[in-house]
């Protein structure tokens, strides 16, 4: 038995809250070193939690000692552990990146309160991945949403503030829908604990509960930027400073997706058939539309942000394919992790490329291959995962998805997956081939801290090499399901 003192799940929430507060206390622009140290500890905690779960199975942590339905339960199972691992594994390198990125005088302003905001953001995500209480989840969603909006606004420019405001309004509308859904569920069953609720909801489903499910899911889909709610994402993710974009695109949108998945597997397991198919169609449209927009984007970070819209689409293809064999669920988890690492790498690399060229257009990249080859290599590696080419984790995700679709005879999805991958290759190689062009005569390249380049590379390499360890990830995912 782990000492209650050392419960890793609890510390994964307490620790980021604590360092965010201390960073605030320390003053504007402070807190980088503390954050990195704490994130090392958090990564250790997440690993320990994962190891512990594999050995002893899923577990509950009753906050306050009351237990559901009176109190709030934290629940750690394989799915939570995967999300927690991904979050810490992306956050640590991005923190290292951000420290160097914001050290430039040019970005000082954005760094004023970056660290406490990032700390609260991570705490919100960790709390969300661990909560088993629908109302508590609402609070974590709001915490996450406000932190994300704050980070989008961190740059302070007009475009960023507009993007932040639009993001905030969508987010508030979405969580409003979620909250009304929770209210209806409490009215219908008298509890908001997922574990208590799930058997009740599956047993008896009045119309109000169907509406609640619809409201909550639509809200969460809007937060995950699924087409047609994607419009807020490209300006928000594409306009923020690179480390912020990395956190938002790699992690934040995954949090609401995780919740959709949780609900679909738990209280709303009755929502199958048409509803699941509709979500799948939206996902398929997102894959194609996002990739198409990425192909046309003029600015590098917009391209990467549209790629997020497309890649999120793959996550929603799993809903029509969720079956007892668990293939689709595994595909979803692998895609979350693969895209998380790869997209963080892409944004980190994009930040380097933009700093090296001093421009943010795809066209301005000509000749950059010779100047920051490591970054370009990182971009390519991450691209491998995005395109779903072997041996990356993204490839395994797509393999499993195709496998699941074949097994269920749902051919249409396969075409979408393959076409989406080819379109992804189109926009990734659009960047690479521009970078390989000879540099124009009048181009000037700025030196870039090596640390930024290495972070991008490490993240990209991780997203590819994870493809060789898919079995471990799937085993962890299987805990408690």
């Amino acid at each position: 038995m782990t000492e209650a003192w050392l419960e890793p799940a609890a510390w994964l929430i307490i620790l980021p809250l604590a360092w965010a507060s201390v960073a605030f206390l320390a003053g504007p622009g402070r807190g980088a070193r503390l954050a990195i140290l704490a994130l090392v500890a958090q990564l250790g905690l997440a690993l320990e939690l994962a190891a512990d779960l594999t050995q002893r199975g899923a577990r509950m942590h009753a906050v306050g000692g009351w237990g559901a339905p009176l109190g709030i339960d934290l629940m750690a199972d394989g799915l939570s552990a995967v999300m927690l691992l991904l979050t810490q594994a992306v956050a640590l390198p991005i923190a290292v990146y951000a420290q160097a990125y914001f050290a430039e005088t040019h970005h000082r302003h954005a760094a004023t309160w970056f660290w406490p905001l990032a700390g609260f953001l991570l705490a919100a995500m960790n709390a969300l991945f661990l909560s088993a209480d629908l109302f508590n989840l609402y609070v974590t969603l709001e915490l996450l949403g406000l932190a994300a909006v704050g980070l989008v606004a961190v740059g302070g420019g007009t475009a960023q503030i507009t993007a932040a405001l639009r993001y905030l309004l969508v987010s508030l509308l979405a969580s409003g829908g979620y909250l009304l859904g929770v209210a209806l569920l409490y009215g219908a069953y008298g509890t908001v604990s997922m574990t208590t609720l799930a058997p009740l909801a599956v047993g008896q489903t009045p119309l109000a509960v169907w509406i609640a499910a619809g409201l909550m899911l639509v809200g969460l889909l809007a937060k995950t930027a699924l087409l047609p709610f994607h419009f807020w994402l490209p300006p928000a993710h594409g306009g923020a400073p690179a480390p912020v974009s990395a956190l938002l695109s790699a992690l934040v949108v995954k949090a609401s997706f995780y919740l959709v998945l949780r609900l679909a597997l738990g209280p709303f397991a009755m929502m199958t058939g048409t509803a699941a198919g509709l979500i799948g169609v939206l996902g398929a449209s997102a894959i194609l539309w996002g990739a198409w927009q990425a192909l046309r984007a003029q600015r590098l970070k917009q391209l990467v942000a549209w790629s997020t819209v497309a890649q999120l689409g793959y996550l929603f293809l799993i809903f029509p394919l969720l079956a007892a064999d668990g293939l689709a669920l595994q595909a979803g988890a692998l895609q979350v992790v693969a895209h998380g690492l790869a997209k963080a790498a892409l944004f980190a690399a994009a930040g380097v490329l933009m700093r090296a060229t001093g421009r943010d257009t795809v066209e301005g990249l000509a000749g950059v291959a010779g100047r920051v080859p490591l970054t370009l290599f990182a971009f390519g590696l991450a691209g491998v995962s995005i395109m779903g080419l072997p041996p990356s984790a993204g490839f395994l995700a797509k393999w499993l998805l195709i496998d699941a679709a074949l097994k269920q005879g749902q051919w249409g999805w396969i075409v979408v997956i393959i076409v989406g991958s080819l379109l992804a290759a189109g926009y990734i190689f659009r960047v690479l081939r521009q970078a390989f062009l000879l540099a124009p005569e009048d181009s000037h390249f700025q030196p870039v801290p090596r640390r930024l380049e290495w972070v991008a590379f490490v993240l990209a390499a991780a997203s590819v090499l994870l493809g060789l360890r898919g079995a471990e990830l799937v085993a962890l995912l299987g805990v408690g399901s």
Partner: protein
């Protein structure tokens, strides 16, 4: 982990690790980079010799790593794998030497040699793949690692070539993947085994199996440049000469052809494929490709483009050999896998020498080049004769076996195809030879970069590789019956495939 598990991994690592280090090397470290390159190539050769010796003795080399439940990365170094591994390892060594000379003083060499190493890593990985999944992993890795080489020069023309190359290969990869996952869904993991395993699915799956065959062959057919999937190959010749050598002789088109061999023999099983009537269409596709490639080569004035169309034609000899049901055709096809490699690499080395030394890129500019560069031209001549199929070169041996195989299989029309092809080969190679040796040289070469110094018509790093490979063209032809020849090895493989 046992030695028998480690040896195949060592073959892969011997180019992967130097490649990774080379990426990180500063541009100026020419000496260290060359040492790393050669060290990698030599150690790979040593490992391959160990493997060859072991396989001949009957040892089994393999390695298995589970990626997902029910999905393994499998390596096996069997006789067929080693045929290809040996070819690429030896030719990689020569190409590396050649590339060091060719790229002397040009920019971005760390990047170039890094991807060069990755490319051969992918090739040997693909050769030793023990199941379709592993094959696909390295097949795509090959695409990715060759793209930066194709666009290496960074000119708009190179970019166009690279884009076309990608469009074809990635689309092919998508078809291949669909086929592989489909088959995986039908029967679980598809390991490569002698005699194939698909037959076990039984008659009710026949229709699906045929579609899958089409997907798989179309997928690998892109790299093997089967008509009409060959469009990328002439475009990709914008790459530097060592890269063309790599694409045409060592890695890419060979990977496609090798894929056809594995799929027909070890996934479907040649007898089952024959019983489903899948081999005849393949033979027809190969025959069309052979003739079409030769016809197109006739009209090309750009030397490398002419060689590229020649590749389109020649590589399909391998597919043709596979499609000829029977051991003799198989022997011809497999032997040609090696023979075409050494012949074509010689031709590209020579073409690169003309370009690098004299600035000559076109056939029409080659007048009298034989007098200025006799050694290079001699190598070119030997390889060209090999391509035509003149005795006693290596090309003669493969064509002989293919013809015999066609007769044995009762497909007499194939012999006509072979004759037509040989005549066409002669028609596009002999004018070149005529220009080389019998036309007077021009007053000045288009752009003479390297002056002649005595018998050294060009840099020795450029000169040695084509001479050695040209000698190999002769030796493998003359001593085809020796126990160590590619032909003998092909016979060993054919015996194993048809013993089932």
């Amino acid at each position: 982990m046992t030695v028998n598990e480690m040896l195949p991994l060592a073959v892969i690592a011997s180019s992967l690790l130097p490649g990774m280090v080379i990426f990180a090397l500063p541009e100026a470290r020419v000496g260290l980079r060359s040492v790393l390159n050669l060290l990698g190539a030599m150690s790979k050769l040593v490992f391959v010799i160990l493997l060859l010796e072991g396989v001949a003795r009957g040892e089994v080399y393999g390695f298995r790593h589970t990626v997902l439940p029910g999905l393994d990365l499998v390596f096996k170094a069997d006789a067929l794998a080693l045929l290809f591994v040996t070819l690429s390892t030896v030719l990689w060594l020569f190409t590396t030497i050649y590339a060091i000379g060719y790229l002397e003083g040009s920019p971005h060499r760390s990047r170039f040699f890094g991807f060069f190493s990755l490319c051969v890593t992918a090739t040997v990985g693909l050769a030793m793949a023990g199941n379709l999944f592993t094959f696909f992993v390295f097949y795509e890795l090959l695409t990715l690692s060759t793209f930066p080489l194709v666009v290496h020069r960074g000119t708009p023309q190179a970019m166009r070539g690279g884009t076309v190359y990608l469009a074809y290969t990635l689309a092919g990869g998508a078809l291949l993947l669909t086929g592989i996952v489909w088959l995986h869904g039908l029967m679980g993991q598809v390991d490569f085994v002698h005699g194939g395993s698909v037959a076990a699915l039984g008659p009710q799956a026949t229709a699906q199996i045929k579609v899958v065959f089409l997907l798989l062959i179309a997928g690998v057919g892109v790299k093997a440049a089967l008509v009409p999937l060959h469009g990328w190959l002439p475009q990709a010749m914008v790459a530097p000469a060592p890269v063309s050598a790599l694409l045409h002789a060592v890695a890419v088109v060979k990977a496609g052809a090798f894929g056809i061999v594995r799929i027909v023999y070890e996934v479907y099983g040649v007898e089952y494929a024959q019983s489903l009537g899948l081999l005849k269409p393949l033979a027809i596709a190969a025959a069309v490709t052979i003739v079409w490639g030769s016809l197109r080569a006739l009209t090309q004035d750009d030397l490398k483009k002419r060689l590229a169309y020649s590749t389109v034609s020649q590589v399909s000899y391998i597919a043709l050999g596979v499609a000829l049901f029977g051991p003799v055709g198989t022997i011809g096809g497999l032997a040609h896998l090696v023979h075409q490699g050494i012949m074509k690499i010689t031709l590209f080395f020579a073409a690169g020498n003309y370009a690098e030394t004299l600035g000559v890129h076109k056939v029409s500019e080659l007048d009298g080049a034989g007098r200025r560069m006799p050694l290079t031209s001699a190598a070119f001549t030997i390889a060209a004769f090999g391509m035509i199929g003149v005795a006693p070169t290596a090309g003669y041996v493969s064509k002989w076996y293919l013809g015999e195989g066609a007769l044995a299989a009762g497909m007499d029309w194939v012999v006509a195809v072979l004759w037509t092809s040989s005549l066409l080969n002669a028609a596009y190679f002999l004018p070149i030879l005529y220009r080389l040796w019998f036309r007077p040289p021009p007053a000045a070469w288009p752009a003479e970069h390297i002056p002649a110094r005595g018998w050294r018509e060009t840099g020795w790093l450029l000169l040695a590789p084509p001479l050695i490979t040209a000698a190999a063209v002769l030796v493998t032809g003359l001593f085809a019956e020796a126990g160590w020849s590619p032909l003998a090895w092909a016979k060993l493989i054919a015996a194993r495939e048809y013993l089932q």
